[in-house]
């Protein structure tokens, strides 16, 4: 045996107290001791030595024993202590104590008792399940047996009882341990007459119990073996002792012992009786005793006011239901009465009602009559005034149960079970509910947090869900009486007591959260929608209904029309009643209405809401007194119009989980990321590969110029090419644009610096031309003052979903029903433009929402897979949904092609900001083509004539020998002036007339001011595309035409040369050339230039004479015409 370490110093009583408290407290306080080695064997030895010390107070010793008992497992066994060693130690301490005489000071009965108890407890906890073949255990039992083996000894009767309990506990832990001395124990029982007899009887009952349960083959009557010395029963060590069945001899013996034991109940304490019954009932079942043997002795227990005894009887009932057949009514009645006994602690009254419910549950389903009896008891379930609310609530449960039974009897199947007398007796479920609720009727006017309210709504719930459990699949009858009653009551209540609204809402929520009864909640909401909404008064108190409205709004099964109408009229009311002191209230109510609108937007299809909601929102944003509400409603309105379906829900879904919408990563990261930090330049780099801004109509001239221009533009921001190319003839216009000097003086200087032209006499014709031109120029706005002339280029923005998702890392749910769900979207896109070309400031574009293009393959797959879902509409929707129209507006300072750089800034669904440059948009010369401005005083029907005159005038003015060369013309506004410096050119295009005409019709129709020559006129007129112009026959007008066209045309060296170059090939053409007529085309080039075409159309080729007052454009025109006609 290991000696205790010398370091462990003995503890004083106070230190012992602290140690025991710290051990029980656990944690660090306990570790303080264990780390100091006050644990395991040393601690045990220390405690045992302290127990034997005479100077220790008795109380501390008792406490120490309890401590050893409680902590044995943790303190000693854990440490791998030798079991036998410790048990020997303890037993050696116990034995002298038991045998010592009582001195009343250091040796008392209570110390003996406690030592026995603690030792037994340690023995039991220390050993495992199997019977331990330990000599120490044998010694302990022997010691205990010597204690009990003195029946009727007066002084130590209590101690003998304790020893019996110790033995019983050992027998319980190791069944059949004492089976072979059962005969002796029986003998002791019979002779013991003091109050300690209960312990003897319980010990015997325990031994009998384990014999009967283990079917041990032992004789109970046999007392041949001596009581002491005690030996383990041999059969426990082997296998053969355990019988398969109880042999007939031991059966008889067991019955005899049982009849002895059954004499005893009246001598037992209530707790003893419970213990007794828990052992006796299984034996009675195993021996198949007649239940009446038990009931005769025990059925009187039901009249006891001891709850433990009542419960014991109920246990008996549930074990032997047949024995109590016919008495169920009495049992149930007693339980009800017990619940009404005010002398009881409340908890036992509650328990009685629970037992009653449990007891009813035990009644077999086939026994309808018994359940009917429960309906008959309903009157005693009514709560009384002074019943506590918990009691009331359980009694209301019972009433709800009655209503279920009544309901079941009403149903067709129930008639046979319960018979018609119940129905005839006029039990009404409605009455049960109404009468029952009276006891908590304060719930209507008490504040919503009152307990009465909680109880009342709990009862509503119980009545409402009725017999519909969550496990079975049958639905409750929706048309049940109770359901209609509840519906009606709820509507009436909420109309009368607005305070109940929040309670009702949480009641609905409770139903909604239930997979089984969700529909009940929906149905109730529908009822409210139909019956409540028309009845509520539209005044300021309507606000208290908003929680309910919120629920209606978010429920998809309730059509939102009624609510929208109500809210609209509420808003009307608010606007009408608006006064100086209603500001805050207005704001509060208005925002809450908008909150409901938001809820609707989140939960309903936009189409369903559109009409009503847009009306409401439009009204609000126009007339509502509060600015913030107006703003908000405007935002909602915009969203309603611009953002489709589920994407809208995602935007609005802030921090909430919607049932219909998958919890998307977006909404969560919406909060975790701030807007500013989320810009990731790396990701934005290749943005132009999947976000595209494209021209709607592609340019005729595509590549070349944009290239040259972009190379120029890299050199600097100034468009300096004009000077570079044309320094011999610097156009003053250009200077005028570049320098910001005084407009009026600058032209003068420029004119003086220019090539001298001979002065001309201004004749009447010229003055007429000048007159026309003055008039024309005076209607051209001066762009420096009024930027009115705008070039609009239609473009469309689109982006590809697949690369977008890949790069921005969105993992959108793939299995959503709605196709739109899996597509990414961008929000609040801003496109900004800049250009090196002189296009002025280009306004940015805003696109609220854009959905990504579905991946091509997936999309087609989806269509072919399930065309029942993807209908035709979807095909059209594709065009509409995935492209956003963008109008780029330019205010060119000079009509030249160029590139417009595009920058995008947009938001992804998770709030990430995407920035980057898209591919530039090329602007062609044809984009600059505008119709000439018509002065306001020209009547509409005179416009064609005006155009022709203007054409003629300009044609003349742009001739090289123009007599108007020195003339300057005031622009609109009277500040700027312009002069005309004309240039001419020609181009022969060898295309058949028909294709030429088509090309003109397609691209230049708006600019044609006149068509001459009968064949051409006929063709064009038939085409019907060119209209409202001056038509002229060749015969009559050709002469004028020629004169107008160009007096110098024949001497144009270019023209002749041109023809000569083409001679070999062109002669035939020339010969076959047949003049058909002329197109006269007038194009206005912003800001104030002109381009004139005179197309002399022949059947195989066409000669285009070109005049312009902006010579640089000729460079592009050549290419343009090539492209126009040669495509």
């Amino acid at each position: 045996m290991a000696k205790p370490p010398s370091s462990l110093k003995p503890l004083s009583p106070q230190e012992w107290e602290t140690l025991m408290e710290d051990y029980q407290y656990g944690g660090t306080r306990r570790r303080r001791w264990t780390s100091a080695n006050y644990t395991a064997l040393p601690l045990l030895q220390l405690s045992l030595s302290s127990l034997l010390r005479k100077d220790f107070p008795l109380n501390l010793k008792l406490r120490l024993l309890v401590f050893l008992e409680e902590e044995y497992l943790l303190a000693f066994e854990e440490s791998g202590l030798e079991i036998e060693q410790t048990l020997t130690l303890i037993l050696d301490a116990l034995r002298p104590l038991i045998q010592a005489p009582i001195d009343g000071v250091s040796i008392t009965y209570s110390l003996k008792d406690q030592f026995m108890l603690s030792t037994t407890s340690i023995f039991i906890t220390a050993t495992s399940d199997a019977v331990p073949i330990l000599p120490q255990l044998e010694s302990l039992i022997e010691l205990l047996l010597t204690v009990i083996n003195r029946p009727n000894h007066g002084l130590d009767r209590q101690t003998r009882g304790v020893a019996c309990e110790c033995l019983r506990e050992l027998e319980r832990a190791f069944p059949c341990l004492l089976s072979e001395i059962a005969g002796h124990l029986w003998g002791l029982c019979q002779s013991e007459r003091t109050h300690a007899a209960q312990s003897y009887v319980l010990l015997l009952a325990g031994v009998v119990h384990s014999i009967a349960m283990g079917k041990a083959n032992v004789s109970i009557l046999n007392t041949s073996l001596p009581l002491v010395p005690f030996n383990f029963p041999q059969f426990l060590l082997g296998e053969n002792g355990w019988g398969k069945e109880i042999s007939s001899s031991s059966y008889k013996e067991l019955r005899r012992v049982m009849s002895f034991l059954l004499e005893w109940p009246q001598y037992l304490t209530p707790c003893g009786l419970i213990e007794f019954m828990s052992m006796i009932i299984p034996v009675a079942v195993a021996l198949e005793l007649q239940a009446s043997l038990l009931t005769v002795q025990l059925s009187g227990l039901i009249y006891s006011f001891d709850p433990v005894l009542c419960h014991a009887l109920l246990v008996l009932c549930s074990q032997f239901p047949d024995a109590f057949d016919g008495q169920e009514g009495e049992v149930a009645n007693r339980l009800v009465l017990m619940s009404r006994e005010v002398q009881h602690y409340l908890v036992f009254r509650l328990l009685a009602l629970h037992w009653l419910l449990g007891f009813i549950g035990l009644l077999k389903d086939g026994e309808g009559r018994k359940k009917k009896a429960i309906i008959g008891m309903r009157l005693s379930f009514y709560p009384t005034v002074f019943d506590s609310l918990s009691l009331k609530s359980l009694k209301l449960d019972l009433l709800a149960y009655c209503s279920i039974l009544v309901d079941a009897s009403m149903s067709p199947g129930g008639h046979a079970v319960l018979g018609s007398d119940v129905i005839g007796s006029g039990v009404s479920v409605v009455k049960l509910l109404e009468d029952g609720l009276v006891s908590v009727s304060g719930f209507k006017w008490l504040p919503p947090w009152s307990t009465e309210t909680a109880v009342a709504f709990r009862t509503f719930h119980k009545f409402l869900i009725g017999a519909s459990s969550h496990s079975d699949t049958n639905r409750i009858l929706m048309e049940s009486t109770i359901f209609h009653t509840s519906e009606r009551m709820l509507v009436d209540m909420v109309l009368e007591f607005q305070g109940l609204v929040p309670v009702m809402v949480s009641f609905f929520d409770r139903l909604f959260s239930c997979y089984k009864h969700r529909w009940l909640g929906e149905r109730l909401l529908q009822t409210l929608d139909v019956h409540l909404l028309p009845k509520v008064k539209i005044d300021n108190r309507l606000g208290s209904y908003f929680p309910v409205f919120d629920r209606i709004a978010e429920n998809i099964t309730v059509p939102p029309i009624k609510l929208l109408e109500l809210l609209t009229s509420f808003m009307f009311m608010l606007v009408e009643k608006h006064g100086p002191d209603t500001g805050l209230k207005c704001w509060s109510l208005g925002s809450r209405v908008l909150g409901i609108c938001r809820t609707m937007l989140m939960h309903h299809h936009s189409s369903r809401l559109f009409l009503g909601l847009s009306r409401l929102l439009a009204f609000t944003c126009l007339y509502f007194p509060d600015l913030e509400v107006r703003d908000d409603s405007r935002i909602y309105l915009r969203m309603l119009i611009c953002v489709p379906g589920n994407k809208l829900k995602h935007i609005l879904n802030i921090g909430e989980q919607l049932p219909g919408i998958s919890p998307s990563p977006q909404s969560s990261s919406f909060f975790s990321q701030s807007f500013s930090v989320s810009h990731e330049s790396k990701k934005s780099r290749n943005i132009s590969s999947y976000i595209h801004l494209e021209r709607v109509a592609s340019l005729l001239v595509k590549q070349s110029w944009s290239l040259s221009l972009s190379s120029v533009s890299t050199g600097g921001n100034e468009p300096s090419y004009l000077e570079g190319i044309n320094d011999n003839e610097p156009p003053y216009e250009q200077r005028e644009f570049d320098g910001n000097a005084d407009v009026r003086t600058l032209p003068e200087m420029e004119i003086t610096g220019q090539r001298q032209e001979p002065l001309r006499v201004m004749d009447s014709k010229i003055s007429e031309i000048v007159g026309i031109l003055r008039r024309h120029f005076s209607s051209i706005p001066d762009y420096r003052q009024k930027p009115e002339l705008k070039i609009r280029i239609s473009c469309s923005l689109r982006f590809q979903s697949e690369p977008f998702n890949r790069i921005w890392g969105f993992d959108l749910p793939a299995n959503t029903l709605d196709e739109e769900d899996i597509l990414p979207a961008i929000y609040a896109t801003v496109l900004t433009f800049s250009s090196s070309a002189p296009y002025g400031a280009i306004p940015s574009c805003h696109i609220p929402f854009l959905l990504g293009e579905p991946p091509k393959s997936d999309y087609s797959l989806g269509q072919s897979d399930s065309f029942d879902i993807v209908s035709l509409e979807n095909g059209t929707a594709e065009e509409y949904d995935f492209k956003a129209p963008v109008m780029v507006e330019l205010e060119p300072r000079e009509p030249i092609p160029g590139l417009v750089d595009v920058y995008i800034e947009t938001n992804a669904e998770n709030g990430q900001v995407i920035r980057g440059q898209l591919q530039s948009i090329s602007v062609g010369i044809e984009d600059m083509f505008l119709q000439a401005i018509t002065p306001e005083d020209v009547p509409p029907d005179a416009v064609p004539g005006y155009y022709l005159d203007l054409f003629s005038a300009l044609w003349e003015a742009c001739g090289t020998s123009s007599s108007t060369g020195r003339e300057t013309f005031l622009l609109k506004g009277g500040k700027g002036t312009a002069a005309i410096r004309g240039t001419r050119s020609v181009k022969l295009v060898e295309v058949p007339a028909t294709s030429l005409i088509q090309a003109v019709e397609r691209h230049l129709a708006a600019f044609v001011v006149s068509v001459t020559g009968e064949p051409l006129v006929n063709i064009v007129k038939d085409g019907g595309i060119i209209r409202d112009i001056i038509w002229k026959d060749v015969a009559s007008d050709s002469a004028i035409d020629v004169t107008i066209s160009d007096p110098n045309s024949e001497r144009g060296p270019l023209y002749l040369k041109y023809h000569d170059d083409e001679d070999e090939r062109g002669s035939q053409v020339h010969f076959n050339k047949k003049e058909m007529g002329c197109f006269l085309i007038l194009i206005f080039l912003p800001p104030r230039f002109h381009l004139l075409f005179q197309m002399e159309v022949c059947d195989v080729s066409t000669l285009v004479r070109i005049r312009t007052d902006h010579w640089p454009c000729l460079a592009y025109i050549d290419d343009y015409l090539e492209a126009l006609f040669c495509v």
Binding site: Q24, Y25, G26, G27, Y72, S110, S121, I122, I124, T125, G154, C166, R172, R193, T194, H195, A197, T269, P270, C271, I274, E275, S278, G300, F305, D306, V308, S318, Q343, V347, L350, L356, L357, G358, L362, P383, T384, V385, F386, D387, L389, S390, K392, I404, W449, S450, T451, H461, K462, I465, H470, S471, P502, C514, K516, D539, R541, S544, L584, S588
Partner: protein, 621 residues
Amino acid sequence: MPRVSGCSIRALWILNSQDAVVFSRRFPVVERRWRASCKSDVESGTVPLLPTDSELAAAFVDRKKREGSARGFGIRVPQSVEGSDSWVDDPITRHIISLHINKEEESANHLFWPFILHMKGHYCILVLPLVEPHHLRTYSRMCKRSDCGNAIGQDEGLSSLLLALPSITGAFMVAHVLGDIIMGDAQEPEVVVITSPSVGGLLDSLTGSIGISARAKPVAATVAASTTSNTTVSGSVLSDAPRIGSRTLDKDSLRTFISSAMPFGTPLDLSYSNFSAIKSNGFSSTDLPLSDRKQPAWKPYLYKGKQRVLFTIHETVHAAMYDRDEIPDSISISGQVNCRAELEGMPDVFFPLTGLDTTRVEVISFHPCAQVPEQGGEKQAITFSPPLGNFVLMRYQAFCGIGPPIKGFYQLSMVSENEGAFLFKLSLMEGYKAPLTMETCTVTMPFPRRRVISFDGTPSVGTVSNTEHAVEWKIITSSRVVSGKSIETTFPGTVRFAPWQTQRPNSSGYGIRGITDEDSDTELESTNNVVNVEEFLMEKMSKDLQSVDLEEPFCWQAYNYAKVSFKMVGAALSRMSIDPKSISIFPAVKAPVEFSTQVLSGDYILWNTLGKCPVAVTPKI
């Protein structure tokens, strides 16, 4: 075959008002059984060790936070969370609770159930009875179910669970006894005789000090505006033992009681008087057992000395007096017969029940020592073998046999916001004859939410005084006992209050709070519509009413009422009486039989006739 469980306790704890464990006891033998049944149970995972004191206290505090109070919400309210007791939606979860224990060593969170929670004084007593692992699993399922709550009468309900677990019932008995011990309330029911006012308990009978020890005469129950009525009738009797506050927990006597009453955690005898008698007296060689009869376990000693049998009928009257045509008054009487049989040996006493009018008396239950004929308690007679000391022989509920002791009305009308005019018109003991005597009668008007500044008015009988929150009218005092005649009295007057101050309720309520708070604008509107002062005040005051516990019958503070407290002697109101001649003892001895009667008021409420009042439907049979 289902195992029939007895009652065993794995452990128990006592916590003080600071939620610290002041006493704990674990029963390793029971714990071993629990672990064994977990081991044989396939579905049980790891079996956690019993919590240490600190772990338990932490879990208890945690639950308190989650459930709003130590007892919890009890029924499912919006604040309830899944996995907590109130999710189960049953009021009894305020008494049978679960705790989620976080073991220090592991991160796991273990559910322990059922803890019996009994609150006594400032102490919380937690008892953990032994159940089967599958019971724990069932409960765990119940408090985690995701649906809206169980329907009544379903298979897996709390009811069937409770029915199958007598250990819970037993644990409650243990908890109540422990509560009585730590508060010093563990005393025997009172028996009063005319000659000596009150007689002592078991110890007195052992020491033979009856009549010598001059015990304090029982005083009438103090008027408590809203105390629960779950204390026993005799519980209202104050003892001369040291009371709460001055008392520290006597851990040693608690420990010895536990070791003696429930060695190994299985209760055997919870009678504290038996325990303390054995502890202080022990057994001497003179305590010889009877030669012919067995001595029951509940009677460790036999009486020796002068023989007599004493009975005291105690009745408590509960009444809700409305004085309205549409609501009938309701009066109910709960009574009990206390007994003290000073008889030598083990005689049987024959007690006829003929004095009971079965149409008025409806519940009768008996002491376990009584042999009740199988036909039912209401008939014939019972035989009982009396234990030593005072004991409750039987209990009954009855209707009032004669007219109510106090009739009349109470009217209170608020003439302004801070002034109320009231009028009492009462008639006492109308039609009562001698020997019915009223010893005291006091009427109290409690105003728990308003401060009384002054009152004005003089009653025709008696004296009036006021405290800060009540006006008290003493009609009959013990110096002027009224016997055999009726009294008519009126009391008109006014009472003035301090201006009403809004008190925002701060405790955690049952229902929904917060949602309604934002409706200040609707409040404003509504007040303008109310013209009546009373309604206006009502509405204003009911806004900050606090929710009451589920143990209360209703929100007392929402109503105006007067509470009557009185004490009567001489006869029982239920007309229950005992004829000493009809009581016989076997084997026959010559022993005088005496009996006395005492009637006390319980909740005897006169509802303000002009105000709201709580009602319940009286079932008509």
